[in-house]
């Protein structure tokens, strides 16, 4: 049984997840270095699938490498680059290596990346992909062809609690839950009121669905402005940007803001943990985790 499933389904522990840095050059030495930094704190770590539409070492290969270095991967699969055959192949490939946590996403558009001339696939949407992952756990491919024994996937998805249409996001969370997702990692959100409303709504209509909001560690107002301007779906209120940019010590103010957002998120209904990301290896990870009352895992 995956540790993510064990913790989320059979315990009340707060579950922290993170993002594994994308892998390009550097081989296993690079994997080992990153694994050493993340292993003490995180139950599961996302193996991304060409994030922001930039090519990197593949999701499956990265997930296997992480597993070899003691990290439990949450293997992401996006719908942008692969058709339904390739997506099912990714999942069976993961199962072959004992990888059970699968997260299905729509994916950023090709225009967000450095090869915008690419063909976009989107043969499936994320909810269909979640449903197909669930179908595979019943011992068959989408075609009905048998898989024996059936893979034991622990399926998850993502959702953006702070992008329009706000009310519909809650219904869409339920739809993903019904399709087979047991928990949702949420997009970065600098609107505590929106996050609050989303979590309360989900707790009401899908009580068993677990939420893991994302917190991003930043050192200054610059990456915040970048996200606000360049990442569709992320909006940062002007007063929040001002608070950090006007501070004498931007790094400290950004850190304080992050801890406030994290502590607030952890009090919300349906929330079972946090997903922690950072911009370019922020060195405040250990401090952040201690400040949230966490201790390194053995």
């Amino acid at each position: 049984m995956s540790l993510m499933r064990e913790k989320l389904e059979n315990s009340n522990d707060t579950v922290f997840t993170a993002e594994f840095p994308s892998l390009d050059g550097g081989g296993m030495a690079k994997v080992e270095k990153n694994a050493a930094r993340l292993a003490p704190w995180f139950v599961g770590v996302n193996a991304t699938d060409n994030p922001a539409a930039h090519a990197h070492a593949s999701n499956t290969a990265s997930a296997i490498a992480m597993k070899m270095h003691g990290i439990e991967p949450i293997m992401q699969i996006v719908c942008r680059d692969k058709n339904r055959l390739a997506i099912q192949a990714d999942m069976m490939g993961a199962a072959l290596h004992g990888i059970e946590n699968i997260s299905l996403l729509t994916g950023d558009d090709v225009t967000a990346g450095d090869e915008p001339e690419s063909r976009r696939v989107f043969d499936l949407d994320s909810t269909q992909a979640i449903n197909i992952a669930r179908i595979m756990t019943t011992g068959q491919y989408l075609s009905g062809r048998k898989i024996n024994p059936a893979p034991d996937f622990y399926i998850s998805a993502v959702e953006n609690p702070a992008a329009p249409p706000f009310d519909y996001r809650i219904e869409r969370a339920l739809k993903k839950y019904r399709a087979g997702a047991k928990y949702l990692q949420l997009q970065i959100c600098y609107h505590p009121d929106r996050l609050e409303k989303f979590c309360a709504g989900v707790a009401k209509i899908a009580p068993d669905l677990k939420l893991i909001p994302t917190i991003v560690l930043v050192k200054s107002a610059k990456p915040m402005s970048f996200m606000n301007e360049k990442v569709p779906g992320i909006d940062i209120p002007q007063e929040t940007l001002n608070r950090v940019s006007a501070a004498a010590d931007q790094a400290e103010e950004a850190y304080k803001l992050t801890v406030e957002l994290a502590k607030h998120a952890m009090t919300l209904p349906a929330v079972r943990g946090l997903h922690v990301t950072d911009f370019r290896h922020d060195d405040s990870l250990d401090r952040f985790m201690y400040d949230l009352g966490q201790k390194p895992r053995n």
Binding site: T138, S143, P164
Partner: protein, 126 residues
Amino acid sequence: MLKKLLPFVEHAIKKPVWDCRMCGQCVLHSTGMTCPMTCPKTLRNGPCGGVRENGNCEVIPDMQCVWLKAYDRKVFLPLPTVWKEHFNELRPPVDMRLQGSSSWINLVTKRDQQTPAGWSTNDGEH
């Protein structure tokens, strides 16, 4: 004859009104009379996470998100209740073989309801 003629007629009517892409498995009634195939990611089960603060599309910044429009129409238009109830149904993956064929014929023959043998949904139970 009808099989050849109908796609032309259907396209002539639905293209100007809904920017119809002739997927051959029309779901307009269940998506607030907004065609999900006009979403640049052709998402049939709701919006992606990239909807901008002003409600516009991640891919085409000056176009309103197709799903924002669909949701608003579902809420505000006097559409039949049963259509509104279909809004949150899990729509199956598109059958690429039906591209260019008439959804009217596929509706009557129920060809548009055929899904792969393994497809099943959990709709209604949770």
